[in-house]
Structures are given as structure tokens and as C-alpha cells.
């Protein structure tokens, strides 16, 4: 089982209830869409699925392991956490929070570098992903000079560079403007048709 949520609820500080009693399972190869109005907790749910925040009530299992704060949020190295971070990747709704490096190339290289790959391997992987998404020409650009759609494509490339099995996409085509939206849509279609059987969860 990829994900298993049992009666999960989440409240933000101040008592704002974002999720209430959510239960569902995601099996390998399954693709799911989460639909809901603004403020219904879609982003919060994806953040929980990525192990960045933890349910205030209920239990959450990912890749057959229970995700809890005391196991997952320690300074010490944790083998399962490292495994989880290579297998599950999240594209954030706001591209700017995901793009923190000075150039697009270094941005995409950030994830593979955390896997202790050699610089040559990192370089090859980054160039392959850029080619696949069609953003090779943006290689030396600074993220703040990119358009909304280009930023989203770079975000998608950053998560693919680690070759994950599970993709969590938080409103990937919600960039303002039809061109930006179409650009992100094209990138996702390219990923889907790349031959690898990804698990998708997108809102």
C-alpha cells in the first residue's frame, strides 16, 4: 500500500480545522484526483501525504510504515525517512517556495545531490530531466526571472530529478493565464507518457 489514512484530522494553531475524519487508501499504480473548493484542505492533505506535517488525530501510513513526528522529524538520520524522501515527491502550489537556488540547473540538481550521487551523475540526470520537460534553454536562468508556467515546469523537473515513484501535485495547472496553464499541462502529460508507472495524487 502506498498511502493509508485512517480517520485523519488536522487542525492549525488557533483551532482552525483543515481536515476532519479523512480515510482512504492508495494502491501502487493508482492515480487519484482530489477535488474541493478553496480552503477545503487539499494542500494540507498533500502536505500530510508528503510527511511534512502530521495528523492531529488519526493514523497515517506511507509505504507500509507509520508516519509519526517523533520518528520522522528527528535530527538523527533515519533510513525509512531517506527512503520515503526519494520515493515520494511534492510539487507545491506556490512555485516560489520551491525555487530557492540561484539558477535553474542548480535548483534541479539540489535533490539528486542529497542522494550522494557523483557530480557527473547529477549533471547527467539534470540534463535528462530538462530535456524531458523541455526547459533546457532555461538552464542558466535565475528562477525569479521566469514566467509562472516556466516556474511550474522547473518545479516539476525538480521532483522528477530524483526519479520518484509517487508524485504529489498541488494544483499544478493553476498558474494564471491559459499559456502558463497549458505549459504545465504539457509537462505533466510528457511525464505521464514517459513510460514510468507513477502514482499520482493531485488536487
Amino acid at each position: 500500500m502506498i498511502f493509508d489514512l485512517m480517520n485523519v484530522s488536522y487542525s492549525y494553531v488557533g483551532g482552525i480545522n483543515a481536515l476532519k475524519d479523512i480515510s482512504f487508501k492508495v494502491s501502487p499504480g493508482e492515480q487519484i484526483s482530489i477535488i474541493g473548493s478553496n480552503g477545503s484542505g487539499k494542500s494540507t492533505l498533500l502536505t500530510i501525504l508528503d510527511g511534512l506535517i502530521y495528523p492531529t488525530v488519526g493514523e497515517f501510513y506511507a509505504l507500509d510504515n507509520k508516519i509519526t513526528e517523533d520518528v520522522f522529524d528527528t535530527i538523527k538520520d533515519n533510513a525509512f525517512r531517506s527512503y520515503f524522501r526519494t520515493r515520494v515527491r511534492l510539487v507545491f502550489q506556490n512555485s516560489d517556495v520551491q525555487l530557492f537556488s540561484p539558477t535553474v540547473f542548480e535548483e534541479i540538481a539540489f535533490g539528486p545531490l542529497q542522494l550522494n550521487l557523483t557530480p557527473e551523475e547529477v549533471k547527467t540526470r539534470v540534463l535528462e530531466v530538462m530535456e524531458m520537460i523541455g526547459i533546457t534553454k532555461l538552464k542558466d536562468r535565475s528562477p525569479h526571472t521566469l514566467s509562472g508556467g516556466e516556474k511550474k515546469n522547473v518545479c516539476i523537473a525538480t521532483v522528477l530529478a530524483n526519479d520518484p515513484d509517487v508524485l504529489l501535485l498541488d494544483e499544478p495547472t493553476a498558474e494564471p493565464g491559459p499559456e502558463n496553464s497549458a505549459m504545465a499541462d504539457k509537462a505533466i502529460t510528457g511525464v505521464r507518457d514517459s513510460g514510468k508507472n507513477y502514482n499520482y495524487c493531485h488536487s
Partner: protein, 131 residues
């Protein structure tokens, strides 16, 4: 005079050298990577902060129909500073989440592409002796 010369040299360096090359060069000469990484991120998010402040200013300007008293303006500026701080904290928290999500565990790993050659040491020594 010395201060003016130093500041001019630093400004000239920043204006004539692409930032990514500057950061890589700093790494090569031994500046700890955590400082460089922080500097890179500060530079990146400075632009985002500028955009945010500009947008808030324009939004306020677009909805201001008549001149307001100095006290009201000061109140408004205070509110904007507070809002900018809250937004900045929210973004910094999300950036941290994005870094964790991509496998960051506190140890900064960067690609080191520049290597100091003999000619670089000679150029450095010449520049130092001339100064």
C-alpha cells in the same frame, strides 16, 4: 578613501560578475558552504520580498481615493510592515518544507565545478602584492 575604494571594488565585482559564478568562486576559495547557501537564498528571496512590497504598495495606491492624514498613513505603513513580516515567516516555513521534501537534512551539498589552478594563485598573489 580606503573605504570608498573597497566599496567601489565590491560594487564593481557584483556588477561585472554573474552571481552564480561569484558564489562558486567564493566556495572555491574556502568560504564555508553554509554561508554561501544562505547568501544565495537571501539573494533569491530578496526579489520575492521586493515584489511583495511593491504589490502591496500598488494595491493600496489603487484604492486610495483622497489624501489621508499623516496619522492614518503611518498606521497603514505599520500594518503593511506587520503583514510583510507575517507573509515572510509563512514563506520561510514553506521553503523549509520544500527543502525537507527534497531530501535536505541540514547538510548542505553543492556541486563544486570550479578548481583553483596555478594561474589563479599567481593572479591572486600579483593582485595582493600590487595593492
Amino acid at each position: 578613501m580606503r573605504v570608498v575604494t573597497c566599496v567601489s571594488a565590491v560594487v564593481l565585482l557584483f556588477l561585472t560578475t554573474p552571481q552564480q559564478i561569484l558564489y562558486k568562486s567564493l566556495r572555491t576559495v574556502g568560504v564555508p558552504k553554509i554561508y554561501i547557501f544562505t547568501l544565495e537564498m537571501t539573494n533569491r528571496y530578496f526579489f520575492l520580498l521586493m515584489d511583495l512590497v511593491r504589490e502591496i504598495h500598488f494595491a493600496k495606491k489603487a484604492r486610495t481615493v483622497k489624501a489621508r492624514s499623516m496619522f492614518d498613513e503611518q498606521k497603514c505603513v505599520g500594518g503593511r510592515i506587520g503583514y510583510t513580516l507575517i507573509r515572510s515567516m509563512d514563506i520561510s516555513e514553506k521553503v523549509h518544507m520544500a527543502m525537507i521534501s527534497r531530501g535536505f537534512n541540514g547538510d548542505v551539498k553543492v556541486m563544486q565545478e570550479f578548481i583553483m589552478h596555478k594561474r589563479d594563485y599567481i593572479a591572486g598573489a600579483t593582485a595582493t602584492s600590487l595593492s
